[in-house]
């Protein structure tokens, strides 16, 4: 498949005006460059908490997204050493969550190339701090898909600088963090909303960052819109007023900003004290089951670690192990008493 595509991805994109948007991600200066109006708003929305006033030439990280009309316009040349690492249909398999996007992952020397077929191609060069995306007719793509592709590209760059993303909801109370990790449909967002409405502060719905802080691991906010299903909306009366009541294509989810519905502010960088792995049970009362550190790391790995660059993956693995050692990890058997969850968790968080 790689060979067949090489010939069709060698043309160059015509010259178009480019816009540059500066951001600062926890001390890392990043610029986003694009020539397409359709590729501006989704990224501006995703990174609204990280905007920076001035454009600096010395940005450490650059993400450049361009629009193309079809695959022949993607100016990608693969070397003879390029090799396919993996491919998928986008369906959930084993520990991997569903994305709905068929893909092929290619390594070409120090570059990692994610080929999403009719959607576009990402080329990530973490060691040089640069990612390029070529999106096919982006005006036809849903903004959430554009956000997803940008997030994939940028977090790969972050990993080379010691900031790792983890698939979890994250909240904070009195400087102590809770991560709620696991695949979709296990009660992650419902448990997160139960805590938010009781006064916990919001860090992220699905993708907080973690960083080795020396003596411990910190969790850092990456506050994006919260995605909810119709079933979740029906559980929480306040969600009837979700302002952005537009479903994602295919996923039947709605989204809103936490700060638009809940009085709590965005939380701050903090030390995680607890990691929960929820699953919904047919019982009235929820209860917690303490997990061994080994089991906790086993459950965390598929929610965080993608092994592209072995050296980077080795460092990330050790940070995840450190996180698992520092926190109390529980399996949350999540019953129907969803509004009582803070009563179950807060005493443990405060005594931990």
């Amino acid at each position: 498949m790689i060979n067949n595509e090489r010939e069709s991805m060698t043309m160059t994109v015509g010259e178009k005006p480019l816009w540059t948007y500066p951001y600062s991600i926890y001390g890392m200066r990043m610029r986003y460059v694009t020539g397409s109006p359709a590729l501006v708003a989704p990224i501006s929305e995703l990174l609204k908490h990280f905007r920076r006033g001035t454009i600096e030439e010395s940005a450490e990280l650059t993400v450049c997204f361009r629009d193309v009309q079809d695959r022949t316009e993607i100016p990608l040349r693969l070397s003879s050493s390029a090799r396919r690492l993996s491919a998928g249909t986008g369906r959930a398999v084993g520990d991997r969550r569903e994305t709905g996007l068929p893909y092929e992952m290619i390594q070409d020397e120090r570059r990692w190339i994610a080929d999403f077929r009719d959607v576009g191609v990402l080329v990530m060069d973490g060691s040089h701090g640069r990612a390029d995306g070529y999106l096919i007719k982006p005006e036809t793509l849903h903004p959430n898909l554009i956000e997803y592709l940008f997030h994939l590209a940028s977090t790969e760059l972050f990993r080379y600088r010691g900031l790792y993303t983890i698939h979890a909801a994250a909240l904070e109370k009195h400087g102590r963090g809770i991560l709620i990790s696991g695949n979709s449909g296990r009660g992650k967002t419902t448990s997160s909303l139960s805590l938010l409405r009781s006064g916990y502060r919001y860090l992220s719905d699905d993708q907080p960052l973690i960083q080795d802080a020396g003596t411990h691991v910190d969790v850092l906010p990456f506050p994006t819109k919260i995605n909810v299903t119709q079933a979740t909306i029906e559980l929480f009366p306040e969600l009837a007023n979700v302002p952005d009541h537009v479903p994602h294509p295919g996923s039947r989810k709605w989204s809103f900003h936490a700060e638009d519905l809940y009085p709590t502010s965005i939380g701050e960088r903090c030390r995680p004290a607890m990691v929960l792995f929820p699953h919904v049970v047919d019982a009235h009362h929820s209860h917690l089951e303490l997990l061994s550190k080994r089991r906790a790391l086993e459950l965390l790995l598929p929610q965080a670690l993608l092994v592209f660059d072995p050296e980077v993956a080795g460092r990330e693995f050790q940070v995840l192990a450190k996180l698992a050692r520092q926190v109390d990890c529980y399996r949350l058997h999540f019953g129907r008493d969803i509004f009582d969850l803070p009563n179950l968790l807060t005493p443990l968080l405060e005594q931990g």
Partner: protein
């Protein structure tokens, strides 16, 4: 002591297997491809080239921790017999099985000590 290494289902390729006539001379060390984390006495291993990860139970973890590039298979066997109530023959059998699995998965390297 059996089932020290979880998540692996394979037959050991005999060309990689530990030569049981040279247990006093075979030294074991982690391969560059392996990352390990001790989690309260149990060990999680990650093979960087494949992204596969494995779990060692407490006995397996003791074996892994002695695979430092200094100890022979015989040294590690002696340590197991000291630390655990186990028949020496059983300890050796289980040790060889686990070492062969770890070598087969590319997590452990063996080399012959020069005399």
């Amino acid at each position: 002591m059996s089932d020290s290494l979880e998540r692996t289902l394979f037959m050991t390729d005999s060309k990689d297997a530990v030569d049981c006539t040279m247990l006093d001379r075979i030294i074991l060390r982690p391969s560059d491809d392996a990352q390990s984390a001790n989690m309260e006495g149990e060990t999680v291993l990650l093979a960087l080239s494949t992204g596969r990860y494995y779990t060692l139970n407490r006995v397996g973890s003791v074996i892994w921790e002695h695979c430092t590039g200094q100890n022979t298979v015989r040294d590690i066997h002696a340590k197991l017999c000291e630390d655990f109530e186990v028949a020496p023959e059983q300890a050796l059998d289980d040790l060889i099985v686990l070492v062969n699995q770890l070598v087969q998965e590319g997590l452990l390297q063996q080399e012959v000590k020069k005399v």
